[in-house]
Structure formats: C-alpha cells, structure tokens
C-alpha cells in the first residue's frame, strides 16, 4: 500500500514533503539513522525540482510523492514532476578529491542522493520526470 502526497513545487512546502517521506519510512520500520539518510536524499530531489523543474514556465507546477514497499524487500520513494526533462543519472559527479580551496560550492545534492540510496532510477513518461529512490529493507 503506497502513501501519496501532492504539493506545489515551492520552498514553503519542502518541510511538509520531507516530513511525509520520513514519517512513511519510520512507519515502515526503518531506524532513525536510515530515516535521516532517506530524508536527505528526498530533500535533494525536492530542492532540485523546486529550483529548476518549472523555471522555464511562468508558474510552478506540482511535486507528487508516493512511498511504500514495492515488494517485501524494496522501499521506494517515487517522485514525479511535469517540469523540464531532467535525468539526474546523467549529471557528472562532483570532484571531491580536490582540496577545499578548489572545491565548487554546489553540486553535491545529487551526489548525496546517489550515495545514500541503494538505487536511484529515472524515467521520463508522458511528459513527466519520474525519479525513484530505492531503499533495501535492513
């Protein structure tokens, strides 16, 4: 059984969206440490959509989130927006080997998402970006 939330892609809704995901993960039995990591990954996805997905349009569209166990082993967070097509899997990894003085300030969000989740999938279907974060059952 999947839980679902729909909210305009605006910064003021970030807290509600993240809280929805963490509540769902907690309810499904993930320990607090893993819940925090799930929150970070989800937040990175939401912030990207809020900042970029609808920038080419006059008004912001929505973010739809569905969470739950896909089967007995995989907890999924499916995040859908109808903004500009954007495949996070094509984004180059930031250079984290250079010393701090040469580091770029941004670009870590998608990297965190990939590192913290067991799997990240992307599809573009019927004019929508569908990003799926997968967390294996502990």
């Amino acid at each position: 059984m999947m839980s679902r939330i729909l909210a305009p892609a605006q910064l003021e809704n970030l807290e509600e969206l993240v809280e929805f995901v963490s509540h769902c993960a907690r309810e499904k039995g993930f320990e607090q440490k893993r819940v925090s990591e799930i929150e970070i990954a989800a937040e990175e996805a939401f912030v990207n959509i809020i900042n970029y997905a609808y920038r080419h349009m006059g008004s912001a569209g929505d973010i739809e989130v569905q969470c739950g166990f896909e089967d007995s082993e995989r907890f999924i967070i499916e995040i859908t927006d109808s903004g500009i097509p954007f495949n996070v899997l094509n984004v180059a990894e930031p250079d984290i080997s250079s010393d701090v003085s040469h580091r770029k300030i941004g670009g870590l969000g998608i990297f965190f998402m990939k590192k913290l989740m067991d799997e990240v999938c992307y599809k573009y279907i019927e004019g929508k970006n569908v990003l799926t974060l997968v967390v294996n059952k502990a």
Binding site: L11, L14, E15, V18, E19, K33, S36, E37, E39, I40, E43, E44, F46, V47, I50, I96, S97, D99, V100, S101, R103, I105, G106, L108, G109, F111, F112, K115, L116
Partner: protein, 125 residues
C-alpha cells in the same frame, strides 16, 4: 523543524557559531545571512559547534564549505566540534573531513588556540 544560529565573538578574530536543529534547503538562507558579517578579513578563526545539529543537507553543507573556503583563503583556520554521526557521514561522503582538525569541546579548542597564540607571540610559527 527549524534552526537556531548563535554567534559568539570569543576573542578578537575568533568567532564561535553554534548551530542547533536542521540546516536544510529551507533554513540555510537565514543562517547564511547571519554568518555573512563574519566573512571579513579580520576573522582568523571560525569554529562551528555542531553538538545540537541533527540534520544537514547539501544546501547546509554549502554554507560550511563557503565559510571554510573564506577563512582558509584569509590565512585563518576553520574548525568544527561534536558532529553527530549522521552529520559526520555527510561530510565524509563529500570528502570534507580528511584534513580538518576536529575538537571534542569548545574547551579543548580554546586550549589549542591559546597554545597557538603563545607560539605566534614567541615567533615559533
């Protein structure tokens, strides 16, 4: 869910920033604005007390990185104390802990800076 940013001038050129709560995509802007006045040439040491910080995302990490780049670029030093495990993990993923001196308490840091200052005064550095 919110963030409290407390800034304390410990001694000339040395500021302690105490963060409590969540440093995320929603709270980072106000935090950044509060910290901005510290990014001046006279600032030589900035210490972040992370004891009460229980969540950080990439937007939060940007602030820490920005402050660190400024201070180190200004020939100063940047430090953090008491990172909770989930916070430390985020810094580790970003490979930002390796060469940083971490203290367990403000007291330990104070002793270290006192010793540093003595060395500077005695022309040992």
């Amino acid at each position: 869910m919110s963030l409290t940013t407390k800034i304390e001038n410990k001694r000339p050129g040395y500021s302690l920033v105490t963060l409590s709560g969540r440093l995320d995509g929603q709270t980072f802007a106000e935090c950044e604005a509060q910290i901005a006045p510290l990014l001046v040439p006279s600032t030589k040491i900035i210490m972040f007390d992370m004891t009460g910080l229980n969540y950080i995302s990439s937007m939060g990490l940007r602030i820490v990185l920005k402050v660190r780049k400024f201070v180190e670029g200004n020939n100063g030093s940047f430090h953090m104390i008491n990172l909770q495990p989930q916070i430390e993990k985020v810094f580790e993923i970003a490979n930002l802990l390796g060469d940083m001196k971490l203290f367990v308490s403000v007291e330990e840091a104070d002793q270290y800076f006192d010793a540093m200052q003595m060395k500077v005064l005695n022309n040992e550095i």
